[in-house]
């Protein structure tokens, strides 16, 4: 490094140190200032766009004033650059192989006609949703809080499919392949594994989302639905299911989507925890859909705060709303409980009696009594996973 470069770097370093030292390892509110791109992706409205290859799209805050996320506003996250952009629905097959009595190759028609059809309304949330809240900045896409959605999924129980194939006695693991491809042949495929004893009847192979075909970007024609779990294993364009005895060591299982294996799932940037575990099930969280940080309302007007709350399937007991920056908390009205895995809509109406900035916060509590921490109390992990801090929106009253 040349001397001049070194000076430049150290000036930059001290500037950064000054501005962030007070926040080292401390979380804040996730970034909420991004706007949808002007360009819409297929079957989508314009969304916040992080990448076109692979496509990474986030829903804006306003999407979450409703507890069902419309298909054209639903977030998108792929791992590989080469995703199929055309599926021949007649020729498409899902293979079931490995430790089974009878290998199966199921067409879409068979999937829709030869099995019991079931529905589940469930949240699909990226483990890295809200990652931009973590300071120092954790590795990975700096998502705001819109890497999630909730839809009514229709399909067939995975257990029904496996029972038809007949699982052999030794079987312990199920591996799932999607159809996305890397550029280099040697790149590991996006394969996920699930322990057979973790499989319950809520896990389905879905072909319908909110009464329509899945959009291509959400995994048309079929994807795996694992209610209560983060979406890293909800394999899109599911093409192959292999049952094995041994766990296959895979990049996307062993390295990605893991948190420190300790009680608080946390560590410090200086001292990373040695062992990790899969991010697995979702924690209790809520997001305000309306108002937004740009909302301006009249003094003494009726404001109805709306948002969504969810957890891993225990269900939401209550959502408390504060309109004084967290000093006092009020009970909100909860929407009907549609499904234990679904977004639970909440609303709270009030009349602002002061002028200027008003800070609105929402805190969800689940049926186990677990509640969301304040943002600054969410502990840091290097992957920036599982943020569930209390959401905060500041409006202006004029």
């Amino acid at each position: 490094m040349q001397r001049r470069d070194f000076l430049k770097a150290s000036v930059a370093a001290s500037a950064v140190a000054l501005s962030t030292s007070a926040f080292a390892g401390i979380t804040t509110q996730p970034i909420d200032s991004r706007k949808p791109s002007k360009i819409a992706f297929p079957e989508k409205k314009p969304l916040i766009t992080y990448s076109d290859r692979p496509p990474l799209l986030e829903s804006p805050r306003e999407t979450f004033s409703r507890s069902i996320t419309p298909n054209d506003e639903f977030f998108v996250r792929w791992h590989m650059p080469d995703i199929p952009t055309y599926i021949d629905t007649e020729a498409y097959r899902i293979s079931i192989n490995g430790l089974v009595e009878k290998e199966l190759s199921i067409s879409l028609k068979e999937l829709k006609n030869d099995f019991e059809q079931v529905e589940v309304t469930s949240v699909l949330q990226c483990g890295g949703n809200s990652r931009s809240a973590f300071k120092p900045i954790a590795g990975g896409i700096q998502w705001g809080s819109g890497a999630m959605g909730c839809a009514k999924w229709k399909g067939v129980r995975l257990s029904d499919i496996l029972n038809r194939a007949g699982i052999k006695k030794d079987a312990q693991w199920i591996g799932f392949n999607g159809s996305e491809k890397a550029i280099y042949y040697e790149t590991p495929n996006f394969v996920r594994e699930m322990k057979l004893d973790e499989l319950d009847d809520h896990v389905i192979v879905a072909y319908e989302m909110n009464g329509e075909d899945l959009p291509y970007l959400n995994g048309f024609p079929v994807r795996l639905i694992i209610p209560g779990h983060y979406s890293d294993s909800w394999v899109k364009m599911l093409s192959n299911i292999t049952v094995t005895k041994e766990y296959q060591s895979l990049f996307f299982m062993d390295i990605a989507y893991r948190v420190p294996d300790n009680a608080t799932e946390s560590e410090t940037p200086e001292k990373r925890f040695k062992t990790t575990k899969p991010i697995a099930i979702m924690n209790v969280k809520s997001v305000i859909g309306y108002p937004t940080n740009e909302t301006v309302v009249y003094h003494n007007s009726h404001v109805v705060v709306r948002g969504v709350a969810w957890d891993d399937g225990h269900g939401i007991k209550e959502v408390l709303v504060s309109i004084d920056g967290g000093k006092t908390w009020n009970t909100s009205i909860l929407e009907k409980d549609v499904d234990r895995y679904a977004f639970r809509g909440f609303r709270f109406s009030f009349k602002p009696t002061t002028y200027g900035k008003v800070t609105i916060m929402a805190k969800a509590i689940n049926r186990l009594g677990e509640e969301q921490p304040l943002a600054e109390n969410v502990l840091w992990n290097h992957g920036g996973y599982k943020y569930n801090g209390i959401d905060t929106v500041t409006i202006e009253v004029v």
Partner: protein, 102 residues
Amino acid sequence: MKKIIILAIVAVSALFAQVNEAVEVPYISYEIKMGKGFETVDANCLMCHSFGYIINQGPQSKDFWYKKTIKMIEHFKAPITKEDTVIITDYLFQHYGNGKLK
């Protein structure tokens, strides 16, 4: 009778895709900071993913960018040479760094 016809249409159409031909994922042009080493980034990184995938990691340390590049080689099998690894790390740190070496 009308009802029956509608039901029949629904049942048949369920076997077709909502979009019955290839979809096209649009190309998004990201603002790229030009500078020493960009050609190397262009040749090695943008082969597999967009520039957006890089810059949306947020400003990061030199060590972070180095490890990301190594991850692409070790885990994703990108054929990036040792020399290019250094050039890529320097470019990313200079333009998308947080000023910290570690």
